[in-house]
């Protein structure tokens, strides 16, 4: 299934840019920022970025850990943490004993991710885990702002406060009444979380966040 067609689209209507690898070149140029909580006196806004169209790659199942080790990629320890893979400009998120999500460290530079993916696809060994279709199964939002933990506390039952949940922590829990994985990435240098959740609920998630943010 390596054939690529033009015209891939995200649930919120973003077209995947017309690049051969389906990824645009920079995070900012075309990205839509949705303000869910406007700037208030002394407190910055809370914004949501829809990153769904950016490349990501998941492998899970028996052999996944061994395969990553065989590529000299250090595994995040323990489960539910993110470990940067500096040599490959990748971030590796560990969701289970044999469940991984690979993200590009810089969204605008997808080549290293594509390289890892093609290494994995072309590897002939018997056990290397399975493609977990994370780029199709999940929508990918990033939500950030100085008060993002307080804001998410309206809908998330886990304490996300910056001093209790360090950078690179992963929380598999519920947001907007649905299963959601939160990864603290501080991607915009602001306190912020990547959210991974049911792609068919992307519209719902966005409208929920907006409604929770409405004063």
């Amino acid at each position: 299934m390596a054939v690529l067609a033009a015209g891939r689209r995200t649930p919120l209507g973003d077209l995947y840019a017309e690049h051969p690898d389906g990824v645009p070149s920079s995070i900012d140029a075309t990205l839509v920022r949705t303000t869910v909580v406007p700037e208030r006196s002394g407190e910055g806004p809370i914004e949501v970025l829809d990153l769904t169209r950016y490349a990501r790659f998941g492998i899970k199942g028996k052999g996944a850990s061994d395969w990553l080790r065989s590529k000299a990629i250090p595994l995040p320890e323990p489960v539910n943490t993110l470990a940067p893979v500096a040599s490959r400009k990748l971030d590796l998120v560990r969701l289970g004993a044999e469940d991984y999500l690979v993200l590009p460290q810089s969204l605008g530079e997808p080549a290293s991710l594509a390289a890892l993916r093609s290494e994995w696809e072309s590897d002939g060994r018997e056990r290397k885990g399975f493609n977990s279709w994370r780029e199709e199964v999940w929508a990918w939002f990033h939500i950030h702002g100085a008060n993002v933990a307080d804001f998410l506390a309206k809908t998330c039952p886990v304490d996300l406060n910056a001093d209790r949940l360090p950078l690179r922590s992963v929380v598999q829990t519920r947001v907007a009444q649905m299963d959601c994985i939160l990864v603290r990435t501080d991607r915009t240098n602001d306190h912020g979380f990547d959210l991974f959740f049911d792609v068919a609920s992307a519209n719902f998630m966005m409208s929920s966040l907006k409604e929770l943010g409405a004063a």
Partner: protein, 964 residues
């Protein structure tokens, strides 16, 4: 306006800001910082409400929002507590539960009819005179009489929010103990939340009198508040009620329109205690007020509560109130002390020098009201050492006698309530782990011991959290035994000695409940309704326990209080609802359906097209869609189908165990039906498995069933320990069913993999691309026509849909919806799980024995199927048909009759556009399932229709059309 007391009285009011408001249509003036009740009382308007049953005049009692006497209607909002509701400019308040006006309540007559309404009378009345008297006569009447307030159905929409909060330590109650506990815990580094229901911290320090002069108390309060304010580790919520205790220290905190769900590692309850009233005849007259309420009126609002007071002092605080009154310029006519000897010599000496008369051995037998009993006029004092009694004129009677700990949250958490005869108080024991009590709720009464107990509780909580804390000594508490007094509870012969003010229950009512046979407290409560009113027994529990103890000759400790459950106080439904968000899921081509004019319908969380267009009646549109598929080609969005990837060497084995057919033997490139049973042999789901590779199956499940199937598969896999990875990719793939005689031509026009009958035969599955979109394609369908189910990663969904629509345009391709799909499948006799099946339908009953590979060593449901096959068959799902008629029609859920008895029901039926007659499926008893037999259908109109039992494959029984 009556002048207020001078400074420093009135800590909460701003004398410079006068507010105008109305009560019962009359205009009043109050001050900013007043509550509605303090402004009314300050203006001389004591009468605030009428009691629930007898419509007696009532006024402020606690000034703390703890009684039902101050419930009023404020604009559209009923049941507002006037003693804590902040006064606002232009506020409009009215009384509740009055017939006519508050001043002239026609129902006040009921007070004279009390003997016709004994306790529990409603359990014995209202049965007659006629058969339906309750519904027609009594219920509407009682509803009108019993309701409090009026709901404004046109009230504007209000936003209510919820939020989770996480703290190391939650301190409930911001009095001296709570403040000390918060500071001590935060000093060790703990993150602390301190909540208090009042507008400001301080608790009793803001109104009560202690051993030191009031100036010293004010200084201490200022110092404590400053420490809290300056402490970075303490968050403070005021005007916030901790409204219950739920498992593992989960406390709902309500403030305005927000519900905080606070999870705290340690909870410290400094909830204080509740000043208790005493029973005597007419103890509910306006002007009879608890001592703490007198102090609140003066200190907080600078309200002079009366001109001439009698002070009942069963404890030390009674003397302190008397001193406060004297200092505020209120004449204290007498202190009535029931004890035989003077216990508070220093106070007594101070008061006597000011000319106050102290009567020991004394009690209050009754009170008398001025005209209409709207305010206290005099109290009759009796002495246990004399036969005479004496009426003393007064317009204020302050009552200080006993306290009960505010035990509700502690009891909800599992603490036990005991009664200590020595101190005449309830005490809390067996406090569970991670919960601590401090202050008067824990029996600390003297200020030094309250402060130290608070600090000790804060330190202990910190220690449990692993933080370094210091040792704290709590000094001996000499006040504990002087705080409460147990009075003999003898009812007045003429009654009106209220135990429960909310429900108008008197001493004799509780006694009569016991006498009627309800001698257990929980029964007394349910029979008499004691403690069931808005104040939930805050002032009646102790008295009730004592009355029941005496009446049943048991100890108060054995009686206790009724089970305490959340919520502590009333909470608005809006707070529980919060922001309502119902999940919805869209397929990747949702917008295409909307653009094409689809009528969308929810299917679980998903939204799916029901039919397309609005230019014709829906029935016609649906028939057009059926005809389109039968004659040309249509496309159905089936993206909502469950989709599961099974990968690994044991994938076939897992499927063999989980579903009913043979999958391990299924060739790669083939698609096979999946029927899933539970262990009872009930059919629970169906779908297909496409074998993509030796170790890879792509399995579909029903839209509604996939979550359960996926969870069960994963669970079984953990137990079976198979080498297979199970992955739910339902939303990750868009899926479209292209079906109709011209379906192949559409795919050929779109371009892509070989879809010829040789390249992709019926029940074949391939991987490739169509219109440059990656697809998994299967020759399967529900309609009985030539069908291709195309699955593509959802990001390609729109591209594939558009390409197919474009390619199919010359062939007349249009999308069709769920309604047409349901007809198409019924014409083929395919079942829908959950519509044509129920909780006990077996594959045999459904005529699907063909789908059971009984030779397999095991599959879930096999054992029960074998067992059931040895029993007589119970029922069958049969097909039926009947001619179309203008007069009547069968419907789903219509009964099947046999000799007048209901023996079965219709599960699916439709007027088949293709066959021109009614067709359907129905459950009938196995012995009546014979083909060709006639069965009777009872229609919704009540008529009977005769239908013929036929094989369920109504259309193209040889399946020639789908296999071309």
């Amino acid at each position: 306006m009556i002048p207020r007391l001078p400074l420093p009285y009135g800590t909460r009011i701003d004398r410079g800001q006068v507010l105008t408001f109305t009560f019962e249509g009359r205009t009043f003036r109050g001050l900013s910082g007043d509550t509605l009740a303090s402004a009314l009382v300050a203006s001389g308007q004591w009468l605030i409400s009428r009691s629930f049953k007898y419509h007696r005049a009532r006024s402020v009692m606690t000034m703390a929002g703890q009684d039902a006497n101050t419930l009023v209607q404020v604009a559209g909002e009923p049941n507002v507590l006037a003693d804590v509701h902040p006064l606002r400019e232009g506020l409009e308040a009215t009384a509740q539960n009055v017939n006519g006006s508050l001043e002239k309540d026609r129902d006040a007559l009921l007070d004279r009819l009390g003997r016709f309404m004994p306790v529990g009378f409603y359990y014995r009345t209202f049965f007659g005179p006629g058969k339906n008297s309750w519904l027609r006569l009594w219920e509407p009447l009682i509803r009108k009489k019993a309701g409090l307030g009026r709901v404004d159905t046109s009230a504007p929409r209000v936003r209510y929010e919820k939020q989770n909060l996480f703290y190391d330590v939650l301190v409930v109650g911001g009095g001296p103990a709570g403040i000390s506990a918060a500071i001590e815990a935060a000093d060790t580094g703990a993150r602390v939340l301190l909540v208090d229901e009042n507008p400001e911290l301080g608790g009793s320090l803001t109104y009560a009198r202690f051993d030191d002069e009031p100036e010293a108390t004010a200084h201490l309060l200022g110092d404590l508040r400053q420490q809290i304010k300056a402490h970075p580790g303490i968050d403070v919520f005021t005007n916030a009620v901790a409204n219950g205790w739920y498992a593992d220290n989960w406390i709902p905190i309500i403030t305005a329109n927000r519900l905080y769900k606070v999870r705290a590692k340690e909870v410290i309850l400094c909830t204080g205690s509740l000043d208790q009233p005493i029973p005597f005849r007419n103890n509910d007259l306006p002007g009879i007020v608890l001592g703490s309420a007198v102090q609140r009126l003066m200190r907080h609002y600078a309200v002079k509560p009366g001109r001439r007071a009698v002070v009942f002092a069963g404890n030390r605080d009674g003397y302190r109130v008397a001193l406060d009154l004297v200092e505020a310029g209120v004449e204290v006519a007498a202190i009535v002390d029931p004890r035989t000897t003077q216990q508070h010599g220093a106070f007594a000496a101070q008061l006597e020098t000011k000319g106050v008369r102290i009567i020991l051995n004394a009690g209050i037998a009754e009170a008398a009201g001025a005209a209409g009993n709207k305010h206290l006029k005099a109290a009759r004092i009796t002495r246990s050492d004399a036969d005479t009694s004496e009426w003393i004129d007064c317009d204020l009677l302050s009552v200080s006698c006993a306290y009960t700990p505010t035990y509700q949250l502690a009891l909800q958490a599992g603490a036990k309530l005991s009664y200590d005869d020595g101190t005449a108080q309830f005490t809390l024991t067996n406090v569970p782990a991670h919960l601590t009590l401090a202050g008067s709720v824990a029996g600390n009464f003297s200020l030094p011991s309250v402060l130290a107990a608070g600090r000790k509780a804060g330190g202990n909580a910190a220690q449990t959290l692993g933080l370094a804390s210091r040792e704290i000594e709590v000094p001996e508490d000499e006040e504990r035994s002087l705080s409460s007094l147990e009075l003999p509870l003898v009812g007045h012969p003429k009654g009106r000695d209220f135990v429960d003010f909310d429900e108008d229950l008197q001493v004799k009512d509780i006694e009569n409940a016991v006498r009627t046979g309800y001698d257990e407290l929980e029964l007394v409560k349910r029979f008499s309704t004691v403690g069931m009113g808005p104040s939930q027994g805050r002032h009646s529990a102790l008295a009730t326990a004592r009355i029941v103890a005496r009446a049943t000759k048991r100890k108060v400790d054995d009686i206790g209080v009724t089970t305490s459950r959340p919520p502590f106080g009333p909470e608005k439904l809006g707070l529980l609802a919060g922001i309502q968000q119902s999940r919805y899921r869209y397929t990747s081509v949702h917008h295409r359906h909307v653009e094409a004019g689809a009528k969308m319908t929810p299917v679980g969380a998903w939204w799916r097209p029901l039919y397309y267009g609005d230019q014709k009646p829906p029935d016609t549109l649906i028939i057009d869609e059926v005809n389109l598929v039968r004659q040309r080609v249509g496309i159905l969005d089936v993206s909502t189908l469950g989709k599961i990837e099974l990968r690994g060497p044991d994938a076939g084995l897992l499927l063999d165990r989980f579903c009913s057919m043979n999958y391990a033997k299924q060739p790669v490139g083939r698609v096979r039906y999946c029927l899933t049973l539970n262990e009872m042999g009930t059919v629970i789901d169906d779908g297909v498995a496409s074998r993509v590779a030796e170790d890879h199956y792509y399995v579909t499940a029903t839209t509604g069933g996939v979550d359960r199937i996926y969870a069960d598969m994963c669970w079984q896999n953990v137990q079976w320990g198979l080498d297979v990875d199970i992955h739910n990719v339902t939303a990750g793939f868009a899926a479209f069913n292209l079906t109709g005689p011209l379906a192949r031509q559409v795919l050929e026009a779109a371009g892509g993999l070989d879809v010829s009958s040789e390249g992709l035969p019926f029940l074949g599955g391939r991987i490739g691309s169509v219109a440059n979109c990656p697809v998994r394609i299967m020759r399967i369908g529900y309609s009985g026509e030539l069908s291709f189910e195309l699955h593509t990663p959802q990001s390609y969904g729109e591209a594939l849909w558009d390409a197919l629509m474009e390619a199919g345009k010359p062939l007349g391709l249009r999308p069709y919806g769920l309604e047409a799909s349901r007809i198409l499948r019924l014409e083929k006799g395919h079942i829908i799980i959950g519509q044509d099946t129920d909780a006990v339908s077996t594959a045999d009953e459904l005529g699907m024995a063909w789908a059971l590979a009984m030779k397999k060593p095991f599959f879930i449901g096999k054992r029960s199927t074998e067992l059931l096959r040895r029993l007589p068959a119970r029922r069958r799902l049969v097909g039926f048909d009947l001619p179309s008629s203008e007069q009547d029609r069968p419907d789903e859920a219509c009964l099947i009759l046999e000799q007048g008895e209901a023996v079965g029901h219709i599960t699916s039926t439709c007027l088949s556009p293709t066959l021109g007659k009614w067709i359907g499926l129905a459950f009938v008893p196995a012995d009546l399932a014979e083909q060709g037999r006639t069965m009777l259908i009872k229609t919704r109109k009540g008529a009977e229709l005769r239908a013929r039992i036929v094989p369920p494959h109504f259309f193209d029984p040889e399946n020639k059309r789908q296999e071309i």
